[in-house]
């Protein structure tokens, strides 16, 4: 398998000059590539290299980098090798190419990512609404959407009956008169 992995990496990096191969053990081959080349590399992997099964498409919000990361995971039934293709998309202007003509099920993945992260897929034909219903807020899987605040605002909490709950650290601190400086508080549990 190691040889076949080398061959795959060689072929891809020859064909796609911008593809960077990331080393991994086992049956994993991993590339990072600019987003413009995603359809091309996926087409190539499927048609020329035998990676005919699209196993997964995932999206990660790297809020601190102001980017979304898209991961395409393909599987070759003949080589028994997984290929990860990573790309980054600008978070302010999240636009991506649609690939549901390569694998039909990508349509569902893209629909969900569009709804949950707000990434537009150029040319995606699918109903706007997928999992959410009448959703007015920001795309909820984004890191800056605070689920807890939303839940507290939206759902009734049994405040009264549970109001005598105490924090263990705070209880002990009060008892001993320990003065905890503000900068240390972020390390309390």
């Amino acid at each position: 398998m190691e040889e076949r992995k080398k061959e795959i990496i060689q072929t891809i990096t020859d064909h796609f000059k911008d593809a960077v191969s990331n080393p991994y053990d086992g049956n994993r081959v991993d590339f990072t590539i600019p987003k413009q080349q995603i359809p091309a590399i996926l087409f190539y992997l499927k048609d020329e290299m035998g990676f005919n099964h699209l196993s997964h498409i995932s999206c990660i919000d790297w809020l601190e980098d102001k980017q979304f990361e898209l991961v395409y995971i393909l599987w070759s039934y003949t080589d028994r090798v997984k290929v990860f293709v990573h790309t980054r998309v600008d978070r302010e202007q999240p636009v991506m190419d649609n690939i549901d003509m390569i694998w039909r099920q990508a349509n569902t993945y893209e629909r969900e990512i569009r709804e949950m992260y707000g990434i537009r897929f150029a040319g995606l034909e699918a109903p706007e609404e997928f999992l959410l219903e009448d959703w007015q807020g920001p795309p909820p899987m984004r890191r800056d959407f605070d689920t807890y605040a939303y839940a507290m605002k939206t759902f009734w909490d049994r405040q009264e009956a549970r109001s005598n709950a105490q924090d263990v650290r705070e209880t002990i601190r009060r008892r001993t008169g320990e003065e905890l400086p503000d900068f240390a508080k972020k390390y309390s549990r």
Partner: protein, 601 residues
Amino acid sequence: MSFIDLKGTLKPLTALKQFGRKPHTLKEVPFVPLEAADRYRGFHYNDIEKCIGCGNCATICQNQAIDMVPVEGIEGHKGDSGLRPRIDHGRCCWCGLCVDVCPTSSLSLTKDYLYVSDDPDSFLWMPGVDNPDGKERKAFTGTPETSLNDFQRVPMPELEGMERVKSFAEVVLGYNEEQARAEASRCISCGLCTEACPDHMHIPEYINAIARGNDADAVRIIYDNNPLPEMCGKVCTRRCEEVCAIAHRGEPIAIRWLKRYATETARNADIIREIVNPEIKEPNGYKVGIIGAGPSGLTVAYYLALRGFDCTIYEANPKAGGMTMYGIPKYRFPEESLDKQIEYIQKIGVKIHFNTKVGKDIPFKEIYEKYDAVFIGVGFPKPWTLGVEGEDLEGSIQAVNFLYEINNGKQVDVGDKVIVIGGGNVAIDAARVSRRLGAEVTILYRRRVQDMPADWEEIEGAEQEGVHIIPQAIPVKFHGDEKGHVKAVEYLKAEMVPDEKGGRPRPVPIEGSNTIIEATAVLGAIGQQGDYSFLEGVFAERIKIERGRFVVNEKQQTSDPKVFAGGDAANRTADAISAIADGYRAVKGIEEMLVGTGKDV
């Protein structure tokens, strides 16, 4: 397929053979339900007596189903927050993680799973309090094998026993970064330790800072109420570790070693200052005189200096540190480590007059009049004597004086057979130092080894280094040779007699069990006392002393409002961290007295 599929039509009729089968979800027909399995995850049960209220269950619960609430009849104390978990069964998902993270294994799940009510508030229960009968129905319980607590301490690298005795090199080598992160990660951040620490250091916070890889923050948190943390990181008596939640079933978090690790990342006084970067207030014009540069005096000086006071310390010895300098051997606490901390305190603006003994070089009266407040942290310099025949022979030395001389860089000839009398840390220190001087060492202690007040690790370390311990031995006489030098010690074996009043067993000498062992030197280490001769005339009356210690209030104020006291001369615990705690309290007391609480200003 033909139009009438005969087989396909008749085959289903075989179903009729199942007619009249007994239902298997019931134990007995008509209605005796099956008992739940032995591991069933039903309602919670908590052993209230065993629970220490650490709140780890509430922290792991992802549904916020667990609240920690006070219970009637349970008082919080050291090692117990006094709170107990209450479950919101409407939120519980029965994952049982609370059981697997419980450090004491007091929490378990039971076989009960049926409860019906139309009042949602009635789903709030306190396991063990509201369902005492759950004890009989315990099912899903925690065991050490399945626990999520990490019971094994990261072992501390040390010099090998026989390697140690060759020099005064530091025995404990300290954690490296990886070890420290791993050890810090064992902490469950409950904070029970902070109550046991006399100084109430912010232990969970700095450990968490280390675990997250932020050593600078850890140092900053540590310096918030301890100006000698590296000393504590090496030689603290660590009462905190005794109450550690993990210690109930495993080894406590190495709180002391983690503090040591963090403070050692700051390599010199300038780096400490850069990391701690303390805010130093504008001078407020008040002057404070401090007697004794031990842990309590240094603490008072450091924190008052930060608050804008002008602090001056009078120290009888040529170096600061008090007992931590002269009492603790250098293989435990190297001098450069102490110097670095003293230098930092001096850089903050604390003035120290060395070689200035109050009462001899400067009268107490002068200090009293010159300063707006006085802090006395003079410690216990005078050793107790054994009161046995031959104690004044040559070669019979007080262990404290012996350690003082050694730490002062002097040579002390103890010969090759040293007897140490006592079971405290001073005794062990004297024994281990004597080993390093090349002598064979025997410790005589009147009680059993497990009764020795010294740190367990110290006793173990001494044994590894080849120190011989004779427990239940009461010295009765020192024999001298013709030149008046000690040559042997005579002791009686003792038996332990239970105390009728319920105290610890007393050693009672066995008549006629006299044993004599040879000795070239005898080091007595049975305790020290205060020396308050510097308080003359009116002060001796005005400043009250009872049972050898200053009488102080909760602000460490003596009966003279202007005079504060702390350290061994004021508390009964007699360790460095208590002295620091005294100092820290005195800082607040002095500040309050002189500038007010801040609220008034």
